[in-house]
């Protein structure tokens, strides 16, 4: 059973193809990450999947329902944390939750109970009666996460959930996301341009660039696309190359270290130690380099995923000015 099914999705704005024929499937209970630079089409895809935009071409199903024909039913099954803050700054945390619950048809003691549970979950219960405008960026984000869980969505969309947050808060948010998946068996669709985030959270990653998915798979699978892990070892006596069917290439470097290219460090390293023991070679030092998702993106596009935090702050400033 798939929680999200997308086939040949296209979204045009005028002549510009923001999303240019993407297809993918997300299994139930999976964390699926859309990784790509700003402007790659991540948010547009989220907006289509959450029924805010209509696709120009193609088909998308969320929780088994068509996002165009059965939009209203889809809306009952999804929760979303938008990229831009969408909470009421003039209201308290509690009032924000209350209003959201009301819009989703919840009320009474059951709603109050849920609000308490969720505000405690994101560690905001002590601040429930504080106005949101006095909250830090991280607290606002946590409140939005709590709010999105209020109606127990089957599929949760998180659009750049840690954009502009400090590393500590980011860790916090990550742990919430992991808890949510474990405790509620929720399907989570996440967009990000932070490699670590995709790597840490996602079961499956789709790398998107210029409106197209250019690679898809588990983190390990993607990394294997760029090639080998490389192990460097330093030995006490004679520096000689190792031989074995798992070794792709081996070279003695000028500084005496041995460079061994392997498919998988985790599997190869013990084998190398075994080989060394058999041949009476003593290893003093072993280091390795594994390709990162950044290497993958670089390999596929020739560019790096840049961290463009600037836009977020410009928007935040503009908002502060306009809100009088």
């Amino acid at each position: 059973m798939y929680a999200i099914k997308v086939e040949n999705l296209v979204k045009k704005f005028g002549n510009f193809r923001a999303v240019n024929g993407i297809s993918f499937k997300v299994k139930k209970g999976e964390i699926f990450a859309f990784l790509g630079p700003n402007g790659a089409g991540k948010t547009t895809t989220v907006h289509i999947l959450t029924t805010l935009l209509k696709p120009t071409e193609g088909k998308a199903e969320v929780a088994g329902l068509d996002v165009v024909r059965e939009a209203k039913e889809v809306r009952k099954k999804i929760g979303i944390v938008f990229q831009d803050p969408s909470i009421d700054r003039d209201l308290t945390a509690y009032e924000n939750m209350l209003i959201h619950g009301g819009v989703y048809g919840l009320s009474g003691a059951k709603l109050r109970e849920k609000i308490e549970g969720l505000l405690k979950f994101v560690e905001l219960w002590d601040f429930k009666d504080k106005l949101v405008k006095h909250f830090s960026g991280g607290m606002q984000r946590r409140l939005e996460i709590a709010r999105s869980l209020l109606h127990e969505p089957e599929v949760l969309f998180l659009d750049e959930p840690t954009l502009g947050l400090d590393p500590q808060t980011r860790d916090h948010v990550w742990s919430y996301i992991e808890t949510m998946r474990e405790e509620h068996d929720m399907t989570i669709f996440l967009t990000t341009h932070y490699m670590e985030e995709a790597e840490k959270l996602a079961d499956k990653i789709a790398i998107i660039d210029h409106g197209k998915i250019i690679a898809e798979g588990s983190c390990e699978k993607l990394k294997r696309m760029v090639g080998n892990d490389v192990i460097y070892i330093k030995v006490e006596n004679c520096a000689e190359c190792f031989k074995g069917e798992f070794i792709r290439s081996c070279k003695v470097l000028q500084d005496g270290r041995i460079r061994i290219a392997v498919e998988n460090t985790a599997e190869a390293l013990p084998k190398i130690f075994e080989l060394a023991k058999e041949n009476g070679v003593k290893i003093i030092e072993a280091t390795y380099h594994q390709p990162t998702l950044n290497d993958v993106f670089l390999h596929l596009t020739g560019r790096e995923i840049r961290d463009e935090g600037g836009e977020f702050f410009r928007k935040a400033i503009a908002r502060a000015r306009m809100r009088r």
């Binding site: 907006h47 938008f82 831009d84 969408s86 003039d90 989703y104 009320s107 306009m322 809100r323």
Partner: protein, 251 residues
Amino acid sequence: MRAFAVMVYRQLKRFSRARSRVAGMIINPLIWMIFFGVGWSGVFKDAKIFGGIDYLTYLAPGIFAMTVFNQSFISGVSVIWDREFGFLKEVLVAPASRKETIAGRIIGDSVVATVQGLVILLLTLLLTELRVAGILPALGVGLLLAVAFSSFGVSLATKIQSMEGFQMIMAVLMLPIIFLSGAIYPVSTMPWWMRLLAYINPLTYAVDGARNMLTGVEGIFPLSTDLAVLGFLALAFLGIAMFAFERSTIE
């Protein structure tokens, strides 16, 4: 009905929080009343064109209607803000009826605008000879006016794409609507083409009705006509706004 009630609650709650904003909105009409009104009332000391009352008393219902109009129209159009900065998306992605949600917002905003009108009326009581008994019925007129213009603002907002468009609308529409309503000078002494515009201006009927209730001066139209026109416009614009919002997207 839950979404409707919740939106009314939201608008009222937001209003109760934004004290400095509320103060700012009340200061503007008071400046009109005091500096503009008191200034001209000296000039018009012996004038007969105001139906036998002094100019300040004549002006007060106009300023009341102007306040309600300003507040309700701006709050309606400010749905654009919500589109730009979040809350609209939050509503559009919810399973609740959009018609119900926006109706709740409009009614909430209208109550807020009427309350602001009431504050102005109470303050002007000190300067003028308004009939206290007319205040309650005048608030009814204010509420109908607010629903009409708040809805009108929402309908516009669903069509406007940018902030620049918002500024344009404000500049082009708001002042003429006020000047062509009889709020600050009588419609009867206007040239025929201005009078024509005044007759198709919804604000004219609110000013006319409120003035009749608050000062006893005979209006341009019978009170029943004022109320019928306002009631019809409030319902019609509310309906249009609900449909326009139902079909609005974030594109």
